[in-house]
């Protein structure tokens, strides 16, 4: 049976992990490779590295980092952040990334998606959507790391992007992100039930029960989180055991 995936996310700046991490077992908490290797050994199903570096020069650090990760990590990993051109994608895949995630650049020029899908295959194109539920009770797409609102509904953009060839959708609820009050179940389920691609839910995971909810009520195919793993509030082996005991198929 195909299992639900647990995906730790690492934010990267200038080749180092940002946001705090709290692990005694690893020598250097800022080293993304050490942290990634630890998560992989604990049973993470996949990893996401999100680069928040701004300049072109610093992006060379990213491709060098991706190269090092690929030589150490034996599970699939996605790299995202600031990807705009075919060349950006080519360099990351060449250095060993399995998938790339795109966000703002794809929204501003949706044909980016079909060009990438044609050249590299849909299986490696993940669309990241930053979503916010407004007072009218509709979910809207936000850009530029959540700083810019658009008038586009999340359901419409997701459908359009799937038609253009994205292989998976990473949906982050800005309303839930950082709250540890649970994932956005309604919009996650709405996308998952209506689209033929896997939905990775992100934002709000604070307890093991939240992960159970996002798989049962939210119908997510995968759940992504950062700080609950970095601060050891939830250990991946315990989480998977809990999910398994509650009838969710997971890789143990």
């Amino acid at each position: 049976m195909l299992t639900k995936r647990i995906i730790p996310c690492l934010d990267i700046k200038n080749g180092r992990t940002v946001k705090g991490v709290n692990f005694e077992q690893i020598r250097d908490a800022g080293d993304p490779i050490e942290l990634a290797a630890l998560y992989a050994s604990q049973g993470a199903d996949e990893l996401v590295f999100l680069d928040i570096t701004a300049t072109v020069e610093q992006r060379k650090t990213l491709s060098a980092l991706v190269h090092k990760i690929a030589h150490r990590i034996n599970i699939p990993f996605t790299v995202g952040g600031g990807i705009k051109t075919e060349e950006d994608v080519r360099v990351l895949l060449q250095n060993g990334a399995d998938k790339i995630s795109i966000n703002t650049a794809a929204f501003l020029d949706p044909l980016t998606i079909s060009r990438f899908a044609k050249q590299f295959g849909s299986q490696c194109i993940v669309l990241a959507i930053d979503a916010k539920c407004e007072s009218d009770n509709n979910w809207y797409v936000y850009l530029n790391g959540g700083r810019t609102k658009t008038d586009k509904l999340v359901v419409d953009w997701a459908r359009e992007a799937v038609d253009l060839g994205v292989g998976e959708i990473l949906l982050t609820s800005m309303n839930h992100d950082g709250t540890k009050q649970g994932f956005a179940l309604d919009i996650t389920a709405q996308l998952s039930e209506n689209l033929p691609v896997p939905i990775i839910a992100s934002g709000g995971g604070g307890t093991e029960a939240h992960f159970l909810d996002v798989f049962t009520k939210g119908k997510a195919d995968a759940a992504l989180a950062a700080s609950v793993f970095h601060y050891k509030e939830i250990a991946i082996p315990d989480l998977k055991q809990y999910l398994s005991q509650n009838g969710i198929a997971v890789r143990i």
Binding site: L2, A70, H71, G96
Partner: protein, 198 residues
Amino acid sequence: MNITIVQYNAGNIQSVLYALERLGVAATVTDDPAMIQAADKVIFPGVGEASTAMAYLKERNLDQLIVSLKQPVLGICLGMQLMCKHSAENDTKCLGIFEEQVLAFKATENTTKVPQVGWNTITNLKTELFNGVSENSFTYFVHGFYAGIGTGTIATTDYIQAYSSALHKNNFYGVQFHPEKSAAVGEQIIQNFLSLKS
């Protein structure tokens, strides 16, 4: 040992090279027929679309070369599908090493997502390729087409229906999953392939 990875117009080739490097094994990525012919082991990886991949192989006569190989050959994902008789992906005649046909997954009410993406179990494991690998081990899959079950089946997986997650005939092996991304289980399978007698 001389290990060669067949280079062609498909994705994911680099990942296989890196996986071998993680195991401390050097390999050469090439489309040079002489080098492929001379290798002790040949890996035929790939992620992509069947008809364009077959066209590329034919242009370079790599299709005839691959079927004539006598050393152990491991096809991965699209590589395995291309080693089958025919693929429903753009109605493509393939290499015909394995008798099995490659068909498209059809979404159902219960399983609405195609392609399959993620970790699934492999069962009914046969041959030395799976030495030391437990029944129901998890491996990582990304595919919208599958090979049916037939005489060459050496592992099965369930997604929408049961299908061949690995095939074998003589010196040829194929796996639908990605051993290069399947954690310790995948590494064991790669090691087993590398240990096969030439």
